[in-house]
Point group: C2
Chain length 304, copies 2
């Protein structure tokens, strides 16, 4: 925040409004694209189902002391032809960071003035899609802006979780992300890919949960416009990277064994989310609606 | 440790040997009792399966720096008539507590000399049974002795997890535990029941995971014999409290809706274990075999 006046760091109401409006726009683009995929799925064992549709539900966050701390909207589609369960949650929350959440944040970096004024504001979209067909990959997207009176930053990422890796799809996914990153800074893709490789690791199994993607957090170059533009492009790249893979794989046939592989893989996914995922931990610790926070859990999973 | 000489606190090899021998004996009693239940299940949708049998597998714990840090034996029965998946793990581990595990322990209580000499030894049995019939309750037992050069303590507990509560079974389960506790100290049952009510709470849903039982930790009255005897009685009471309920309910009929209720309840159980369970966190943080640590996860679960 090198050239921003103190007052602008302290409120940033205009930036917050633009960020949350973008997240709502992105959510709408995603939901529309996913419903189009449902409409065009005319083969496979679930072709006789009606095309899935998102249902929206408002969620409230209970703030400390019983006050209101913002909330969000869950968009959930269940039992579709292509998507077995997908949640696209948008949330804009604010309040005072509790001691545990303060410790989590300041363990990563210094946040000026947080101890004296622990207010925060955060807005973003979080998406996890568990697919009907084991031949289509599960997918995750998170994109957010975070603000405290002394700091602001962007974070997010997307990673692909095929049940069995298809090298061609992995290469395509990473290629689209790289192109989007490179338009902003040639250092971003290698750095944010490496971060994803580290972050999306199921440490206790010493195994990656999927085939990676990009992940970044605490992004604050001092140029809010530039960082916001990058975050917007990551959101757009998510659709460009994911949709063609699903489009291509959704009509491939699959067996009962493929389904077992999928259910076991989903068990590992649930382990990651409950043990390591930063957003899940933050959501549960700050009292957000657990139904929204845990929308990422698979509809069905096995630990055989 | 009022009357124990310093040297006795520092090694306690005889007590460690007696504790781990007891845990092995308890494990054998439990496995034998569970296999007898499998033999007597002659009705119900899975009566045509062969009676389930435990398989044993050694597990090793990788200590810091690549050394050997003890290990254990997993006893696992899968796909039985009564037990869909049950793991009875015994482990005896030792080594140096890492920084994270030290912080977890000293957040609860002072441990003299831990910073200078972070050695530890721990032995115990951990059991989770996920049942075939939704009419029989899932069950959990943990019982352990923990040692550091400056302290020792016992901990453990058991809690009943019916898919739908049966008041009579809850009363029976608690009655057996109370009788065992009362033989040692009339204050134990109320205190350890209250601790279980607090501990086995799925905080983010503000809902108990089951119908409770008892839980205690950091038990060190200074009289090792008395505390060990109590811990042994809790192990015996577990069998007396659980077996009659399962014996009674195992032949009751159940529906596809009952199964759905069971799968959803198991999802919540998995959430508890991965987000809150002290043993799971300790096991994953200290590098124990993840297959053993996560044996508690249900064979199948749903988040619809």
């Amino acid at each position: 925040m090198t050239d921003a006046p103190e007052s602008r760091i302290r409120d940033m109401e205009a930036e917050k409004a633009r960020a949350s409006a973008w997240f709502a726009e992105l959510r709408d683009m995603i939901c529309a694209a996913f419903e189009r995929l449902e409409d065009t799925q005319e083969t496979g064992p679930h072709a006789d189902l009606p095309p899935g549709r998102f249902e929206r539900k408002e969620t409230r966050r209970a703030a400390e002391g019983g006050g209101e701390g913002g909330g969000g909207v869950m968009s959930v589609m269940r039992g579709g032809r292509v998507f077995e369960k997908v949640g696209v949650n948008i949330s804009t929350v604010h309040g005072q960071l509790g001691a545990m959440a303060q410790r989590s944040l300041t363990a990563r970096k210094e946040i000026p003035g947080l101890a004296e004024d622990p207010r925060f504001w955060a807005s973003g979209v979080s998406l996890v899609a568990h697919m009907r067909s084991p031949k289509t990959p599960a997918i995750h997207l998170n994109t957010r802006m975070f603000w405290t009176p002394g700091a602001w930053w962007f974070g997010g990422g997307t990673d692909l979780n095929p049940m069995v890796e298809v090298a061609e799809d992995t290469a395509f996914f990473h290629g689209v992300l790289k192109a989007a990153c490179d338009r902003h800074d040639p250092a971003y893709y290698p750095a944010h890919k490496a971060w994803a490789d580290e972050y999306f690791m199921i440490k206790h199994w010493n195994e990656p949960r999927g085939v990676g993607g990009i992940f970044y957090d605490d992004l604050c170059t001092g140029d809010w416009e530039a960082d916001f533009a990058y975050t917007q492009d990551v959101g757009r790249a998510f659709l460009d990277a994911f949709l063609p893979i699903t489009e291509k794989r959704r009509t491939e046939s699959w067996t009962a064994e493929d389904r077992e592989v999928q259910l076991v893989k989903r068990g590992r996914y649930a382990e990651f989310n409950l043990v390591y995922d930063r957003g899940t931990k933050f959501g549960l610790e700050t009292g957000h609606n657990p139904e929204a926070v845990l929308m990422s859990l698979p509809p069905e999973a096995k630990w055989p």
